[in-house]
């Protein structure tokens, strides 16, 4: 991300410039700490004995670390099942969304035909309709098809989102048409152009879409909450929520579960940070 220095930059050297710079870093560090404090508290509480979670004054560093919390939780709740379900759903939905989304985006961005733009407008229009506004008909359909309380309901509902098509199309529009033209002259079919020219060129956008979809599915609460009732189908989010209800006062364990539910996403975020931010900036801005 290239940045343009718009604030008053301390270009001048001298004691004043140094003071300003130090003040800036102090302010930034304070802001970052304030934002991250809930996470620090969560990690700290997850390593405490239950009685030490709420103490006055706050104990930021546990007196003695209860590492076994992270071993015990697996036997207290079927965490492995929840994690397995979540990984499965997130991977399948992400794969389908990226595949069908980028395929459809090629049709919208690089093939010219009558009615194309009207169709695209329809896609855009539904992005603006809140999901809550049509969740009832969706639910009735799933119920009639007897797909409620199966993974199918969630896969079908989330794998064909309009958002993926939109994001990929915006990126494809930045790839010059001359490239496709040249490939056509060389005798490549449209499907060949998509697979061998456009896909390799759109790796950053594919990464953005894949990461955003994966994280959204991983974190989704409303979908599984409405559709999955059997315990053995639950995702980590539902599991964590029911854990809170079951072991109301088991604060340390609840925090251990929270840490474990956030950890995979944290790792993915640290690895793919750039793509997240680019995906959001471009899907928001170029519209």
């Amino acid at each position: 991300m290239s940045t343009v220095d718009t604030a008053a930059a301390p270009r001048a050297r001298g004691p004043l410039a140094i003071v300003r710079r130090v003040a800036l870093y102090v302010a930034l560090t304070l802001a970052a700490l304030l934002i991250l404090v809930p996470f620090l508290w969560m990690v700290s509480a997850s390593l405490k004995r239950n009685n030490d979670v709420f103490t006055i004054p706050i104990q930021w560093i546990p007196k003695d670390f209860q590492w076994h919390n992270f071993a015990d939780i697996w036997t207290r709740v079927p965490l492995a099942t929840y994690l397995g379900n979540t990984v499965f759903l997130s991977l399948v939905i992400t794969f389908l969304q990226v595949l069908t989304g980028s395929f459809a985006a090629y049709g919208f961005a690089k093939v010219r035909f009558r009615g194309r733009d009207t169709l695209f407008l329809m896609y855009i229009a539904t992005i603006a309709v809140p999901w809550q506004a049509y969740m009832i008909p969706q639910y009735i359909m799933m119920q009639k098809a007897e797909l409620t309380d199966t993974f199918w309901s969630l896969i079908l509902l989330q794998a064909f989102g309009a958002f993926g098509v939109f994001l990929m199309r915006q990126y494809y529009l930045t790839i010059p048409d001359e490239l496709c033209e040249a490939a056509r002259v060389d005798g490549l079919s449209e499907y060949g152009i998509w697979a061998r020219i456009i896909l390799p060129l759109s790796k950053p956008a594919l990464a953005s879409l894949a990461l955003l979809t994966f994280v959204n599915t991983w974190n989704d609460y409303m979908g599984p909450f409405i559709y999955l009732t059997s315990n053995d189908l639950w995702t980590i989010q539902l599991g964590l929520r029911s854990f809170v209800g079951q072991f109301d006062a088991d604060y340390a364990m609840i925090m251990t579960g929270s840490v474990l539910s956030v950890l995979p996403i944290t790792i993915i975020f640290l690895l793919g940070q750039r793509h997240f931010i680019q995906g959001i900036a471009s899907s928001g801005m170029k519209g």
Partner: protein, 313 residues
């Protein structure tokens, strides 16, 4: 098949005229285009487009899963006007939006201004600000519920340290539960909108700042004369996105308070869920969703209109 369906005037001769070739190519393109779009479109049409249209129709019907649907005209909307809990949900949603939209916007803009500079480590600070947004709503709600614990929570300990004698009961109090939800959601969402504001700030040409500097404008004057007008398109976008997002609020409320205490934090989406999916009153719940949709639409249109008027001036 395609030939029968397309009503083309029968002017084409047997010999392949240029026009016929064009038409053939157009038809081929249409087929190819649709073949790309179809896999996604099938899923999209069946699972999004049809439900969107069905939601409209359903809101004028009475239907539970046992009896066949029956056309009842505006009955559902009449009932809505007299339904105490729907009115409460509407009021609570409006309250949430009134807090969430301006506060998130201010926080996001502040962060963006603070972090829009080329200094070592700025990437880390941006990532830190963005991080809450990608963590799950459930974990966020669970942690904040504990932070807001009235007796022993860190938030109230800090308030007492500042000299507040009787700090609020947060999620256990009917007055303070919604503010607690708003604060949590601002904290979670500000990083996302910061990214949008950062992109907006970077789209402002540097020359404008230099010109203002040459004219002798102070930092504050440059902010008012260059930054703010330059940010107008992003601000507009953020305003729409935030408003829509506020009206849709669901999971944070469900996990943090489940609408309680009492009905103090019951919101519209939750009311739709309870009436429609728990109680099976599909028609009535769809009427509430139509209201939710119209609210979102009206706000979006008003903001569009307002913005285009200001731009013309």
């Amino acid at each position: 098949m395609a030939d029968l369906l397309t009503a083309t005037p029968a002017t084409a001769s047997a010999a392949p005229s240029p026009r016929a070739r064009d038409r053939r190519r157009a038809r081929r393109n249409t087929l190819i285009g649709w073949s790309f779009i179809l896999p996604n479109f099938l899923g999209f049409a069946v699972l999004t487009l049809v439900p969107v249209i069905a939601a409209f129709a359903l809101s004028f019907m009475e239907w539970d899963s046992y009896n066949p649907p029956e056309w009842v005209g505006l009955d559902n909307f009449q009932r809505l006007l007299n339904d105490e809990s729907t009115k409460i949900a509407l009021r609570n949603t409006a309250f949430y939006a009134l807090g969430h939209v301006p506060l998130t916007m201010l926080a996001a803009l502040g962060l963006a201004l603070l972090l829009n500079r080329k200094i070592a480590g700025v990437g880390f600070f941006r990532a830190a600000a963005f991080f809450p947004y990608i963590t799950s709503m459930v974990a966020v709600a669970v942690v904040w519920n504990m932070l807001f614990n009235p007796q022993f929570g860190p938030v109230n300990q800090f308030l007492q340290f500042l000299g507040v004698d009787s700090p609020p009961g947060w999620t256990t109090s009917t007055t303070w539960a919604m503010p607690a939800i708003i604060l949590t959601s601002v904290w979670r969402d500000m990083g996302y909108y910061m990214v949008l504001f950062l992109a907006g700030l970077q789209a402002i040409p540097v020359e404008q700042y230099e010109a203002a500097k040459v004219d002798g404008a102070s930092t504050w004057q440059r902010f008012r004369a260059v930054t703010l007008p330059g940010l107008r398109p992003v601000t507009f976008l953020v305003l729409i996105l935030l408003t829509v997002q506020s009206f849709k609020v669901f999971d944070l409320v469900v996990v943090m308070t489940d609408g309680g205490p009492g009905r103090a934090t019951l919101v519209l989406s939750q009311q739709i869920y309870r009436r429609g999916i728990i109680e099976g009153e599909f028609g009535y719940a769809s009427a509430i969703s139509l209201v939710l949709f119209l609210l979102v639409l009206v706000f979006t249109l008003v903001q569009f209109w307002f913005n285009s008027r200001r731009e013309r001036r």
